[in-house]
């Protein structure tokens, strides 16, 4: 039985799609069978970041409406053969998604996969709410800045009220993934500190992904950073985060500015 994960944030541009691809690939590389679903109907991106845009035939909407079978819409990754993509439709909008349709697709994916990762659209409207609706766990992607943190707080409120698990009296397990963490700017006090972020959100930390040109470079060539540049600091941070999702105890080290490495080296355990 699969675990359903939603990658969400409220705010746009913080790295949901990049994180979905990187975490999905890292989990699949451990041998788990992983499906990533793009819920951003009308503004799909995950196919590009995964490098599958030229192989899309059917999409999520086709499957929810019964036009295509799930097997026809799932795209197997060319690099990791346990990784699959269910793309969004680019020509429709979020109103084309129905709760019943999404429920049926998620239920079918649960049978076949170990992890189902839902890439949520930005915002708190229908698309975002359907992406989180059936989640067991949530990865809340946050940049260390006030607007992103407040939006994440809002999303946590929705995860605690609008998901099926919340309505049944259970709770969605929540993780904070801090992305675009710039060690040099953090050292100068120009960003919110990790402690501030965690204090405001009072939710356990899954990982800290350092700002890296490699992430953008990988997105542009259509490959998750964890596959494209496995030695990159951001890729290693994603791999560690994926291990923590699997329940492994991996020590969490705050990314540091290399120039001041010895002054600023201090470790942190995942909460």
């Amino acid at each position: 039985m699969a675990k359903v994960l939603v990658v969400t944030s409220g705010k746009g541009g913080v790295g949901k799609t990049t994180s979905t691809a990187a975490l999905g690939a890292a989990l699949a590389q451990t041998g788990k069978k992983v499906a990533v679903i793009d819920f951003d109907v009308g503004l799909r991106n995950l196919d590009l970041v995964m490098g599958a845009e030229r192989r899309v035939v059917f999409d999520l909407i086709n499957v929810t409406q019964g036009v295509a079978k799930l097997q026809q819409a799932l795209i197997r990754d060319k690099r990791v053969d346990t990784l699959f993509l269910l793309p969004a439709s680019q020509t429709r909008d979020k109103d084309a998604l129905t709760e019943e349709g999404v429920a049926a697709v998620i239920a079918e994916l649960r049978e076949k996969f170990d992890y189902v990762i839902c890439d949520s659209p930005a915002g708190i409207e229908r698309g975002a709410q359907l992406a989180m609706r059936f989640a067991d766990e949530a990865v809340i992607v946050t940049n260390p800045e006030v607007s992103s943190v407040r939006d994440s707080d809002r999303i946590i409120g929705l995860l605690d009220s609008k998901t099926l698990r919340a309505e049944q009296g259970n709770s969605v397990t929540k993780h904070i993934l801090v992305t675009r963490y710039d060690a040099a700017r953090a050292a100068r006090g120009e960003m919110l500190s990790i402690d501030d972020v965690l204090d405001i959100l009072s939710t356990p930390l899954l990982g800290i992904i350092p700002e890296s040109e490699g992430v953008l470079r990988s997105s542009n060539v259509g490959s998750p950073v964890t596959l494209n540049e496995p030695t990159n600091a951001a890729a290693r941070a994603y791999v560690d985060a994926a291990k923590r999702l699997l329940g492994q105890d991996v020590p969490l080290v705050l990314p540091v500015d290399k120039r001041r490495f010895f002054d600023r080296l201090f470790g942190r355990r995942a909460a």
Partner: protein, 235 residues
């Protein structure tokens, strides 16, 4: 910090209020209507003195110049027009009273008390506390019209708590808190760390900008005293 350190300035108070006014509805022909008004005021001199009078022009539908003439004719009779109600007219000249919209017929107090059953009215309101054990997230609104609200976690930026009684926050208060919202000047707000966007007691409020910087990030209480909303440190 003692209370002398807090700013002595009064906060500005905004409240929506409704008042009862007389609506005069002139009818054509205007000359006859004005003579009728004169007869009425002859019998009851001073009836309109100091009373708010609205001009309801929905029957007469005059032009702008006619409105100006009518307002001055009423002024000659000692009737000051506070506002004008006229559907279909969007703007009036600056020399004329402002336009009003959304009027309702007045309801007298007798009518209200008859509708409420006496047993219901006498039943004392039971004060009960609402205890919230989880953090309050951005966008959430907690409304408790019966008593105190006690929050064990933090109150996020962009959230709000509205309570008839006092508000106690044992985490950081980053959102907005309205205590004594139904008109209780004795209500207070307590929090362990004050990062509030707004604190209000009985309609008197103070925004983060109006709070002295020394109260930020500290345990504080906020209360009303002589019409001033105080925000003072607890330690």
């Amino acid at each position: 910090m003692n209370s002398a350190d807090t700013v002595q300035k009064k906060s500005i108070r905004f409240r929506a209020r409704s008042f009862v006014a007389f609506a005069l509805a002139p009818e054509a022909p205007l000359g006859e209507w004005l003579r009728g008004l004169d007869r009425w005021t002859e019998n009851s001199p001073g009836f309109f003195t100091g009373r708010p009078v609205l001009l309801d022009l929905n029957i007469l539908k005059p032009t702008a110049s006619e409105i100006a003439a009518l307002v001055s004719q009423l002024a000659e009779r000692g009737i000051r027009v506070y506002a004008i109600e006229a559907n279909g007219i969007d703007t009036l000249g600056p020399n004329l009273p402002p336009l009003l919209r959304g009027s309702k017929p007045a309801q007298t107090d007798e009518g209200k008390s008859k509708s409420a059953s006496p047993s219901e009215a006498r039943k004392p309101a039971e004060a009960s506390s609402l205890i919230i054990q989880t953090p309050i997230r951005s966008g959430q609104s907690i409304f408790h019209p019966d008593g105190d609200v006690i929050v064990l976690g933090s109150v996020g930026s962009g959230s709000e708590i509205i309570a008839a009684g006092s508000i106690h926050v044992y985490g950081t208060l980053r959102g907005r808190a309205f205590a004594g919202a139904n008109g209780n000047a004795q209500a207070r707000i307590f929090c362990r760390k004050n990062e509030a966007e707004l604190l209000a007691v009985d309609g008197w409020y103070r925004t983060a900008d109006d709070m002295e910087p020394t109260s930020r990030g500290r345990p504080v209480q906020s209360f009303l005293e002589n019409g001033v909303l105080w925000v003072t440190a607890l330690d």
